[in-house]
Amino acid sequence: MSVFLKMNGSIILRSLARFLVPFTIPRKRRVLCSGVLQRYLSSKIPAVSYPNKESTSPPEKLELDSWKITMKSSVQDVSADSGSKDEDPVVAMKELIEMWRLLGREVPEHISEEELKTAMECVSKSSKKKYLRYLYIKEKAKKARQTKKELKAATKEKAIKDQLLETTKEDKQQNFLFLRLWDRNMDTAMGWKGAQAMQFGQPLVFDMDYGNYMKPKELRNTVCQLLESEGWNRRDVDPFHIYFCNLQVGGVYHKELVRRYEEKWSKLLLTTTEKSYIDLFPKDSIIYLTADSPNVMTTFKHDKIYVVGSFVDKGTQKGISLAKAKRLKLATECLPLDRYLQWDTGTKNLTLDQMMRILLCLKNTGSWEEALRFVPKRKHAGYLEISPSSQEELVNRLKRSKTFNSFPKDSLKIHTQKRWLK
């Protein structure tokens, strides 16, 4: 056993050597050996002794059926106590999940009573599997976090130890030529920028009126995205003034936001209001950004107020935000994804943080190529080169619009008048 463990351990150790050189093997074993692995490892014991037995029998005649006998005679693997044969469906479901796990399906190892009940309430087999897969991914992420945490703690401990050694060696005061840039200095700077944005910055509205269109899970995802987009905004050179409009105090959204931000919620440099954006801003300066809009955004306008619906819908409910904008008689626009990108798969709905980064980039650079970097790569197959013909068309259109619109009739008149005067 120890031989095998060392082998396994050494392979992994090599890859991790950068972080943890003096790492005790027994500790490692505890970290790595989950139930499955343990069984797997322990299964390797007879492998050493097996070849001796094999060598005695002629290789031509393979014993193909002997394993069946041992399999049949061995005791039940899973929950040998079959006392309650006509058991309740909860147990049956648990066993089903266990069997799926043995088959290698993506199901969680541990499942709470509540989750089990939810799984049983799923109507179809596929919905059961989907839910279990979700739990599996959650469990895996949790495990990964835990191991990472432990690793981090170990490296920290080691670093402290090293430092202690060092300080005993050379007990010297450290002098710097430059002022050290602490995190809190950065925070202050960003805070100043945020405050400035709240006074003079361009508003960007998040419409929080979608609370009852979403399931709890979707709402949680939305708030995650909101947090992230707020972070991107805070770190930007020239942040937006963020408005959370239609945010009912005590509503689901508010609760979730407060839960996530904790005490920081009251110190955030953004405006939250129960009012709607149409009460705050003139209607004709509002542009609602929605993927369903027929109007394609051509340029970023610095004098407009862009509204983004903070809405995650996993099951596609078509056209809800567009309907909302129509009801309020607002202008709508969508990003020119098809004009610049060779769209591959996936919906054209983007997440809130992607949207935020695109808008920030647009505001700062004005370049679509630059801004659409933030569209996930998996959704498209690269940028479209603007072909000469389409470019020509664009130029033509520009010309036409100029001749038809931008030169008012009066100017023509003046021109003719002048000529006439001559």
Partner: protein, 582 residues
């Protein structure tokens, strides 16, 4: 081909020589030459591979060619335009083949290229193979998956399990067992299946759906087929069994002559709202051959009515089973033939008229109400239009006389990409207006603004000859199309190429969807072609409904041709005509 190669080679030095004259650098010329050579080689290989394939199964290919030729001849001799009808089986496939710009998805490159063993290996050989394996996955489960995919022989898989068991205290994991079972089922090794069944029963109190399905499928062919039913009961404890489970059980019951059990299982299956596999239904027909039993016959008639009510269509082999059953019933002189139906709705086999596609007035009213509620409103009017706009439109429809034809202006105008939009629309409208039809053209407001593709004078002509309604640029126009058509009465048709699948999906129950589809087939005109003299050719609307039907003395059953790939929104064109001689 050889000559081609030679010329290629002969031109090699020529190219080399001529290049300096062209003023290109040597590196450049080499590149172009290399590319050409590459192409030559690749073409050659393609040719060879094609040839070898055709040499291997010439017979099959010839058969296919013969059948295709036969079909083509038949089509051309009769000039049946229903072959290309919008909702005819295979039409969508044909359309998709007409624009072949979508490149075929290339197969992903093989990463792990371990040769799967073709004969049982001993443990050393397995050990060696495992050392060769470089993937990150578990070797044992990876290799058995590969074997299951390529249907390796059972003995090879068994030797793998023996190897695993030997190094593992005689224990084989559940996933390996299930995949081994799969191979046994594929190769129909009944004794092996029973062995695995015994092992699983001994080791596990309960299995999961995949294992149960395989065991049921395997056990029904053995003497212990009744145990498959126990397994079915086990499945029921955790979930609704699949239609495949039921299919296997029913087939097993019929195989072992337990008719009552089969019918009970069938009822149970319907009770779960599952749609049975066509295989299951076919099994009942196959079993009933040569039996004179009125009760049994009535049940089969019920199956046919079930097909009718759910708009299901049998496949070719099932249609053959139905025909043989009808013809085999003793005492009743049924005679069947495979045929097609004329556009007028007359069966070419017996001359009877097929049911009309027109909806009864109750059906029509109920469809109208449902479409208003589910499609146009759909919970939020703003999703597709606005209340003001809908009201404007409703008033507009009220003021106008009932229309004969409603035209989806944008869709029609864009039918022929090379022609100017307004020109196409004007052609269609003026041709129809000549027949004294009351027309409505639906469009969006942007059609009225001057543009190179939307000429104002032509749009004026359109407006002169037809009533026009222009929706906001932001609204959808299809709901208006449906509304106007439905409110003009049963005679009113509409023109668009849109298949209206999204609107069909808005309707909540299957019955209304069937009704909508029937109405759509009976009322949707499609544009086939535009002749140089700007004459538009429309597709004929079928006058008959494609659905299983009976008059007591005759049955007409539309079925799917094996050669044609039918999409879910299409209907078959082939019919089985059965009638009783008196």
């Amino acid at each position: 081909m050889m000559t081609f190669c030679f010329t290629g080679i002969r031109s090699l030095p020529k190219l080399w020589k001529s290049n300096p004259y062209l003023g290109l650098g040597p590196g450049h010329s080499f590149l172009s030459l290399f590319l050409e050579n590459c192409y030559g080689i690749r073409n050659q290989q393609k040719w060879f591979s094609l040839k070898t394939v055709s040499a291997q199964n010439t017979k099959a290919v010839n058969l296919l060619i013969a059948k295709a030729r036969y079909l083509r001849n038949e089509g051309s001799s009769k000039q049946v335009s229903s072959d290309t009808h919008l909702f005819a089986a295979g039409a969508a496939k044909k359309r998709s083949q007409m624009n072949p710009h979508r490149k075929d998805d290339a197969l992903p490159p093989m990463r792990n290229t371990i040769q799967l063993p073709t004969k049982p290996l001993n443990s050393e050989e397995w050990d060696r193979l495992k050392e060769d394996f470089k993937g990150r996955a578990n070797f044992e489960s990876w290799i058995i998956s590969q074997m299951a995919q390529s249907c390796s022989s059972v003995d090879v898989a068994k030797s793998l399990l023996a190897w695993v068991a030997a190094k593992n205290n005689g224990i084989v994991g559940y996933d390996l067992l299930v995949k081994y079972l799969y191979l046994c089922v594929v190769h129909k090794q009944t004794s092996e299946i029973i062995d695995v069944y015994e092992i699983m029963k001994a080791r596990y109190k309960r299995l999961e759906s995949g294992g149960y399905t395989l065991l049921i499928q395997g056990l029904i062919h053995s003497d212990r087929w009744r145990e498959a039913l126990l397994l079915l009961e086990d499945v029921k404890k955790v979930m609704i069994p699949s239609k495949k489970n039921y299919n296997d059980c029913i087939e097993g019951a019929l195989l072992h002559q337990d008719v009552n059990l089969a019918w009970n299982l069938y009822q149970e299956l319907l009770g779960y709202d599952l749609i049975p596999m066509l295989k299951t239904l076919k099994a009942f027909f196959d079993f009933g051959k040569n039996i004179k039993d009125d009760q049994y016959s009535n049940k089969l008639f019920d199956i046919l009515l079930y097909l009718r009510n759910n708009h299901l269509y049998p496949e070719e082999s099932f249609a053959h089973s139905i025909k043989t059953w009808f013809e085999s019933v003793p005492g009743e002189h049924w005679k069947g033939q495979f045929t097609t139906v004329k556009e007028s709705g007359q069966c070419l086999g017996c001359g009877k008229t097929i049911e009309s596609i027109h909806l009864s007035s109750e059906e029509y009213e109920s469809l109208k109400g449902k479409i208003m509620k589910d499609v146009i409103d759909g919970g939020d009017l703003y999703k597709k239009t606005t209340p003001q706009e809908l009201e404007r439109f409703q008033n507009f429809v009220k003021c106008c006389p009932p229309f004969d034809i409603v035209i989806d202006g944008l869709n029609v105008a864009k039918t022929f990409p090379k022609a100017r939009e307004s020109q196409v629309l004007l052609d269609v409208v003026s041709q129809l207006a000549k027949q004294n039809l009351e027309l409505l053209v639906l469009g969006r407001k942007h059609m009225l603004t001057q543009h190179s593709r939307w000429r104002k004078d032509e749009m004026k002509m359109v407006q002169k000859q037809a009533s026009c309604f222009f929706a906001d640029n932001i609204s959808e126009d299809d709901p208006f199309l449906l509304y106007a058509t439905l409110h003009s009465g049963n005679h009113c048709k509409f023109i668009t190429k849109d298949l209206m699948r999204d609107h069909k999906a808005c309707l909540h129950n299957a019955k209304t969807q069937h009704l909508f589809f029937k109405w759509q087939r009976g009322h949707q005109l499609a544009i086939l072609n535009r002749l140089p003299g700007s004459k538009i050719i429309f597709q004929n609307i079928p006058s008959y409904d494609t659905v299983v039907q009976t008059t007591g003395d005759s049955w007409h059953i539309p079925y799917d041709d094996d050669m044609v790939e039918r999409y879910s929104y299409e209907v078959p064109t082939k019919w089985l005509c059965l009638h009783r001689k008196t």
